[in-house]
Symmetry: C2
Subunit: 452 residues, 2 copies
């Protein structure tokens, strides 16, 4: 088949107007994407993994996708180990009383209802905490003041995120009573950033919270005064096994149902402090509106399947469940889970044989001012398991993340943060790519490490 594809693509390369016709037929903004973000944030709100609200979000999503003309709309249930938030409170008790804006991290250990109160051991960085002698934190609350810096491509989330993912385990191993970190976030508001922590094997969870950046600034200034700083901390949330979650999966059938589908993913769950507008209602809005736009002038050759994954935030359960439930062959996978700011970069992962298709994608997006990056596409949490299992081709549309970590996992993740014009640019870019890949007659496997 591959030899058949190339000439077809070559023809299209010579006639870009033909190639982009489906997208251009709908180039005027439509309301699908906005309706999804607005609907999920307004009519459902926060959708914590494993919660009753997440179940309502699945119902909402299934109804919405059916109303939009998707077929084979299915809710595919699974269960998870979840985190149920309790009371989150913190204050400085010495050298002066001060309130702290705090949130528990996902899978935090719990304090008693009356909380705990202890002196802090202050660490400016995660490295400094790691360098502390074993057992040196007995009876203390470890405070990790490691400040995140913004980056357009979001690349800081890997290393800075380790403060949240790894820091609590390190503190627990060294005997800390509890741990409080500076939020992994780039804003200056009194809204702490939650997110999941990961307990290393054999480590007993301790209460683990994050304070807002201005609160961490305050702690740092108090530490500089030279007197002991004490914190009273109440975090009563619980880790619970066997909570119900699920994915919503739906198809826009292609002309040849026998061909492996193109999979586009996002996640339906959100953290509970905000309403999950940029994380990740906007992703579901973008992939869904783009799929419809790619078929606006008629069916694509291949089916386009949307995956609104459940329980991404707490550990990527939805993506794992999808890969297990869907061993059938896929053609390619993509994901949108980095907010709603403009796409500025494209990266791909194709087999060498599909370089012409990759080039066509880069060329089409180049006309929108989107540049080609040098790295290999990876997909994202919700599609990585199926990508890994099937060695799928991947396209990553990189969004501007300069301000993403201002809002990420905070109460401020609300609808007003989404710029309708930027959302539309995402849909337009995605529709360009989907029109190309869903009309490709063959797409080869692309082992990890392959790339253009």
């Amino acid at each position: 088949m591959r030899n058949l594809v190339r000439p077809a693509l070559a023809v299209l390369a010579a006639a870009p107007a033909v190639l982009s016709a489906p997208a251009r037929a709908q180039a005027a903004p439509d309301s699908v994407a906005w309706d999804i973000v607005s609907g999920l944030t307004t009519e459902v709100g926060q959708r914590l993994a494993g919660s009753e609200a997440e179940a309502r979000a699945r119902d909402w999503g299934a109804r919405k996708l059916a109303a939009l003309g998707f077929r084979e709309v299915k809710v595919e249930p699974f269960t998870i180990r979840g985190y149920q938030r309790g009371v989150d409170k913190a204050r400085i008790t010495a050298p002066v009383p001060q309130m702290l804006a705090v949130t528990a991290l996902g899978y935090s250990g719990a304090t008693a209802d009356k909380g705990i109160e202890a002196e802090i051991a202050y660490f400016p960085t995660l490295a400094a905490l790691k360098a502390a002698p074993d057992g040196s934190l007995g009876g203390k609350i470890a405070f990790i003041d490691h400040a995140m810096r913004a980056a357009q491509d979001g690349s800081g989330y890997g290393p800075y995120g380790q403060v949240r993912r790894e820091g609590p385990s390190v503190a627990a191993r060294k005997g800390a009573l509890a741990v409080v970190i500076r939020s992994v976030g780039t804003d200056s508001h009194r809204n702490p950033h939650t997110g999941v922590t990961s307990w290393a094997e054999g480590v007993k969870p301790i209460p683990a919270g994050a304070v807002s950046n201005p609160d961490a600034d305050l702690v740092a200034r108090l530490v500089k005064l030279g007197q002991p700083v004490r914190i009273a901390l109440t975090l009563t949330g619980r880790t619970v096994e066997g909570l119900p979650s699920g994915n919503v999966v739906a198809d826009l059938p292609g002309r040849d149902p026998a061909l492996p589908p193109v999979l586009v993913g996002c996640h339906l769950d959100s953290w509970d402090l905000g309403t999950g507008a940029i994380d990740d209602a906007s992703g579901c809005a973008i992939v869904t509106a783009a799929a419809l736009r790619a078929q606006a002038a008629g069916k694509t050759l291949r089916t386009i399947r949307v995956l609104w994954a459940g329980s991404e935030e707490i550990g990527g359960f939805g993506g794992e469940a999808y890969a297990k439930a869907h061993p059938e062959r896929h053609a390619l996978a993509m994901e949108s889970d980095f907010g709603a700011d403009r796409v500025w970069r494209v990266q791909t992962r194709f087999a060498a044989a599909d370089k012409p298709l990759a080039d066509r994608i880069v060329a089409a997006l180049g006309q929108m001012g989107i540049v080609a990056g040098r790295a290999t596409a990876g997909g994202g949490t919700d599609v990585e398991p199926v990508i890994a299992a099937q060695k799928l081709a991947v396209v990553d549309l990189g969004q501007d993340g300069t301000h993403y970590f201002d809002l990420h996992h905070t109460p401020d993740d609300t609808l007003d943060k989404i710029d309708p014009a930027a959302l539309e640019q995402n849909v337009a870019a995605w529709a360009q790519v989907l029109a190309l890949v869903a009309n490709a007659e063959a797409i080869a496997s692309a082992p990890a490490g392959a790339g253009d």
Copy 2:
């Protein structure tokens, strides 16, 4: 005396370098202003009127002023009707559950500890609420969705602030069970803006809260869905009589102690959600640092007196107490209570005979790029009572308030919001003015309505 002043001023007018020498001698930034803002926010924190924290702020202020070389440092106590915050909670219960970020307004009525739950009556504006028939709000929570717009000169706070000051009384009169307003603020964060409300005579207080702008957006969208919107509201704070408060007053003596002093005011209390950095630690920092800078090259002719007023936020009690306690003649009064952004405008109120002095002030500030406004200076809450009692001359240095109401009365009023360079520009502008007015040999009374 006045005839003596003019020639002196005329000489100075011909030699501006001489006039501004005291300020220029210290033109490099000093640390006094920053130390005061940082110290008050770090070592004291929130300083709610009538609270134990406000008492600690008075102690801190008196120690600080003495250490800076001020004389006659006095704490002048008075008592107030205050508001003690309780539990503030709100959530939407129908048509879907959603959390709301809420704060009680000062002097709010209290709900029972378990709160109340009722359908809202939605009003897009204060005018719409006023137009509702009497008695039409029985059993309902009035929701006033009146959105504030930003203005450089802060002039929107007058009319928009009426939503908070007057709205609750109007709702109570029409039979509302409680009232919730969209915050009087211009930001998009989940941090509600508190502030005092004013109960009209004969009106029994009802629970009165404010939700953040994104929360008000959400309520408006839910109202548009067409189903009843219900809110559960818990606001358990109490109005308490006879709470201790006080002013801190201190002098930088002039060469002639018999001459009436120049009074520079700010307020020491803050709302309790943030740490009162821009409202109004920065004001106390600016007036105090500028007084010192005006005397850096030697004593001014007149004494410069600083007033760090207590209990401004809850009703201007400190300014009233100062005017009563200080019937002795003053020369002129000024206040800084509009954040720490740059001074862009000067307005004055002088007797016609002092027009040359007013002109010198305008000319000196013009060299810093500060423009003359057309209105008459008024001072501000902390100095208005003494201005009114003594018909004092006034100089207003207007700061850029474009972003002031992003932070005003919210948890976000913290030290990181202050730009040290802008703070320094304030001190420099104030020092210019103080060097002029504190060296003026005579300053006449300036009845309200007088102006340049």
